[in-house]
């Protein structure tokens, strides 16, 4: 999931909620006579006449609805976005040529090395773009796993190898440990 999309969702949903609250609250206030219009029709005849007499009115409404529909489409498509990166650009100087690495090459290597550790049931790695590239690694651990040892190996060896592979000693890494997976044995040895 994209963290940016999560932020957008939160903001738009809050605006929707506030809009509903304001509309409902204001309507109830009118309904209970706060402004003295409790017995006026929801849609006054004057408003119907105005909409019928002004040729541009319904086209303006149609334009606004079209904008809302396009906004809805954009928002819907945004839900499908992720932060994942498929290629790594390692070019230092364009004049010397371009160097790109398929992100899968790096993440597969990280997954393989992680899964070779004793107590690791499964591993999943992804390269993300969150204000700069970062590596996300999820590690499923068996119940018998020595978590402290696995963590140390991940930080000292696996992360070091990943950073070395793409020549980025500062590459930020997020590791999520998931202890207590039920599969009884891992493939590898420490």
């Amino acid at each position: 999931m994209s963290t940016r999309v999560n932020g957008i969702n939160r903001v738009v949903e809050t605006l929707f909620a506030l809009l509903l609250l304001a509309a409902g609250g204001l309507g109830l206030a009118v309904s209970f006579g706060a402004f003295g219009y409790a017995d006026t029709p929801l849609l006054p005849q004057g408003m119907r006449d105005f909409a019928r007499d002004q040729g541009w009115f319904w086209w303006a409404v149609a334009g606004a609805c079209l904008m809302l529909a396009l906004l809805g489409l954009w928002w819907l498509l945004a839900q499908l976005r992720t932060d994942r990166v498929s290629r790594l650009d390692l070019t230092r100087d364009d004049r010397e040529g371009l160097t790109t690495v398929h992100a899968g090459a790096l993440t597969d290597a990280v997954e393989d090395e992680t899964q070779s550790l004793r107590g690791v049931v499964n591993a999943s790695a992804h390269l993300l773009d969150r204000g700069g590239r970062r590596l996300a690694l999820s590690v499923d651990l068996a119940e018998y796993a020595d978590i402290a040892e696995i963590r140390q190996t991940l930080e000292d060896r696996v992360v070091a190898h990943a950073r070395q592979a793409i020549d980025d000693p500062e590459l930020p890494v997020d590791i999520e440990l998931r202890p207590g997976r039920t599969r009884s044995a891992s493939r590898g040895l420490l």
């Binding site: 738009v12 929707f16 809009l19 006579g33 029709p41 590791i175």
Partner: protein, 176 residues
């Protein structure tokens, strides 16, 4: 909470898209003097003209709108339980966390390993992990302390000793 927010966002986006498209189509059909497609807008506008703000059904709809807005606001702004708990850092540029569900599984297993425990369930929050255990022993004695020790060991192994505080309760199974 991200999943709930995603579902809500998808539903709202779909409502915007479909509502907008239907409205545009209905306006174009009306402009061409063609019958309505999905929305009988003539009936709707007649109904709206007949209703006043003080009528019962309008008040019910307005109350429904307020309730819906409140529910949406709560669902959007509620923090909820964390998906993962951050472990104290060791290496520069490396953030390590433990998944909450994994942690709960692991802690519950640790509690179940204590002699005398029939069943155990764990629920982790941001600061406390609550472990509920059941025992068939009539006089549990120091069972709670032993379970707490096992759970504390497990939390320490995970590197969360300064982050999570275990709270263990032991309940006895009813005699059959």
């Amino acid at each position: 909470m991200h999943v709930l927010n995603r579902v809500l966002a998808t539903l709202l986006a779909l409502a915007l898209l479909l509502g907008g498209v239907v409205a545009v189509v209905e306006i174009v059909l009306a402009a061409l003097d063609r019958p309505s497609w999905l929305v009988p807008h003539e009936d709707w506008s007649s109904w709206l003209t007949e209703q006043t703000f003080s009528s019962g059904i309008v008040r019910a709809l307005l109350i429904g709108t307020v309730v819906l807005g409140l529910l949406l606001l709560v669902a959007t702004l509620r923090r909820g339980k964390p998906g993962a708990l951050r472990l104290p850092g060791r290496t520069d540029g490396v953030r390590v966390s433990a998944s909450r569900r994994g942690l709960e599984r692991s802690v519950a297993t640790a509690a179940r390993r204590t002699d005398g425990v029939r069943d155990a369930r764990a629920r982790a929050g941001r600061r406390v992990v609550r472990v509920k255990t059941r025992t068939a022993i009539r006089s549990p004695g120091d069972l709670q302390q032993r379970v707490t020790a096992g759970v504390t060991d497990r939390v320490e192994q995970l590197g969360l000793s300064g982050v999570l505080r275990p709270k263990v309760t032991v309940s006895q199974e009813k005699a059959r």
